[in-house]
């Protein structure tokens, strides 16, 4: 079983994946991250990109909202919040795979992923 590696981009001149041992995934985009690259933002543990997007989307929100548990989850979602939860009874699933900025993020790191190479993948 190979240890999973952090896929956060690092380096100023030549961007490359960090490669540190990853234990957790970004709570929004599922990117594997090492402890050094997990950012805690408003109760969520996020990658740099998602933390930036969180900052953009919550700038105008009141801090008082933090007492409300739903505050943390208002903008939760990856390919739309529709994918959070069991939805076998629902109709279309198109939303969950529309191309989004997060897709661009995935593609930038696709060279690092060992799809069809790692026979212990799951």
């Amino acid at each position: 079983m190979s240890a999973f590696v952090c896929q956060e981009n690092v380096g100023f001149l030549f961007s490359h994946a960090c490669g540190g041992d990853a234990a957790l995934a970004c709570m929004r985009c599922a990117k594997p991250l090492c402890a050094a690259h997990l950012r805690s933002v408003g109760g969520e543990s996020l990658c740099a990109q998602c933390a930036r997007e969180h900052g953009d989307s919550t700038e105008e929100q009141h801090a008082a909202d933090e007492d409300d548990p739903s505050y943390y989850y208002n903008d939760y979602g990856y390919y739309g919040a529709a994918s959070a939860g069991s939805s076998w009874g629902r109709g279309s699933s198109h939303d969950t795979n529309d191309f989004t900025e997060a897709d661009g993020e995935s593609l930038r790191r696709e060279d690092d992923a060992s799809f069809e190479e790692d026979m212990g993948g799951s």
Binding site: M1, A3, F4, A22, A23, L24, A25, C26, M27, R28, C29, A30, K31, P32, L33, L38, S40, G43, E44, S45, L46, P69, Y72, Y73, Y76, Y78, Y79, A82, S83, A84, G85, S86, S87, W88, G89, R90, S92, S93, H94, T96, N97, D103, S106, L107, R109, E110, A113, S114, F115, E116, E117, D118, M119, G120, G121, S122
Partner: protein, 341 residues
């Protein structure tokens, strides 16, 4: 019409194996002969034959087998077994892409078990084309990229046990070494995923024991075989260890389940209405952060322990137990596909 089924469930962890076992069990109970192909490192320790029954034959490939070796074994299996039906879990091209040249040559009907997968993999390996090789796409219990494919059918999540096979609350607590009359809430930390994650579950259980003291009982669940290497474990975690598989059977006795966002843990917790909190573990194909609902997802071990301790300290309230498994429906759908050939 009774058929010969080959179920391809290669992949690490317990997920592919468990989901495929649920189907294999239901199929064999309808009289089909089933061969289950697996390569997870957890396989050797699990009493699969006991749970699956004598009509399911389990082929355990070595987890050490690389891409080429897997390709050779799979080709050989298909040639030797000549199944009427070939069921592939999750990977329409095969784990190493080995199915691509084999599928068009097969006379068997082909069924893909289609769950959520990493969109980068979907795009990079042209899965839209790969899924077209299948006669039926079964989508069990969660959204998936090709859930709207004309040959895709959704079912309820697949669960390994029937509702009547779960232990009663009392029996489950006894199985987890809780004394009769001890009414304290029971927190179970699920050890699965990788061997590192099983060990980390022990650490989380120890932290929960420290946080909860005598207010609750804590158990570290692990599948048989994963308990071999217990050297260097803290005393506390050894005391709370419970070797159990399938863990689904004991969930009626668990008041708070702590785990990760793999398919089976999540579906089992929801189906049994067990209060649940989990970490999103990094995976190559699976997106646990997407599967978990916001209220289930903890962003760090600290947050996980805090949330679980909080749930256990209040009177944990079980959700509605809407125990519904799609395996029977899946077998029916597959049988229809074979008949329509």
């Amino acid at each position: 019409m009774v058929g010969r089924w080959l179920i391809y469930a290669l992949g690490g962890g317990m997920g592919h194996l468990t989901r495929a076992s649920a189907l294999a069990r239901a199929a064999s109970q309808r009289g089909h002969g089933v061969v289950l192909l697996i390569n997870t490192p957890f396989a050797p320790g699990l009493p699969l034959e006991d749970v699956l029954g004598s009509r399911v034959e389990v082929l355990r490939l070595s987890p050490a087998l690389g891409r080429e070796g897997v390709g050779q074994v799979v080709a050989r299996c298909l040639k030797d077994l000549r199944p009427d039906l070939f069921v592939v879990d999750t990977f329409p091209r095969g784990l190493g892409g080995e199915l691509v040249p084999l599928l068009p040559k097969m006379r068997a009907r082909k069924v893909l078990v289609h769950r959520d997968v990493n969109p980068a993999y979907v795009k990079k390996f042209g899965l839209a084309r790969a899924v077209d090789a299948f006669d039926l796409l079964l989508v069990p219990g969660e959204d998936a990229p090709f859930a709207s494919h004309p040959r895709a059918v959704r079912t309820a999540p697949w669960l390994l046990l029937r509702a009547g096979e779960l232990l009663s609350r009392e029996a489950a607590r006894a199985r987890l070494n809780v004394r009769p009359g001890d009414a304290r809430p029971l927190v179970a930390v699920m050890g699965c995923g990788t061997s590192e994650e099983v060990a980390e579950a022990g650490d989380i259980a120890a932290r929960l024991e420290a946080a909860l003291g005598s207010r609750a009982r804590v158990r570290w669940l692990m599948p048989p075989g994963a308990d071999a290497d217990s050297a260097g474990l803290p005393e506390a975690s050894l005391a709370s260890r419970a070797v159990v598989w399938p863990a689904l059977a004991v969930l009626p006795g668990v008041d708070v389940l702590v785990g990760a966002g793999g398919y089976n843990t999540v579906q089992e917790a929801r189906a049994t209405g067990t209060p649940f909190v989990a970490l999103a573990r990094p995976r190559l194909y699976d997106r646990q952060a997407v599967r978990l609902r916001p209220e289930e997802l903890a962003g760090s071990v600290e947050a996980l322990v805090a949330r679980a301790a909080q749930l256990a300290s209040g009177r944990p309230v079980r959700g509605p137990c809407l125990y519904l498994s799609g395996t029977e429906d899946a077998v029916t759908l597959i049988e229809r596909t074979v008949l329509s050939a």
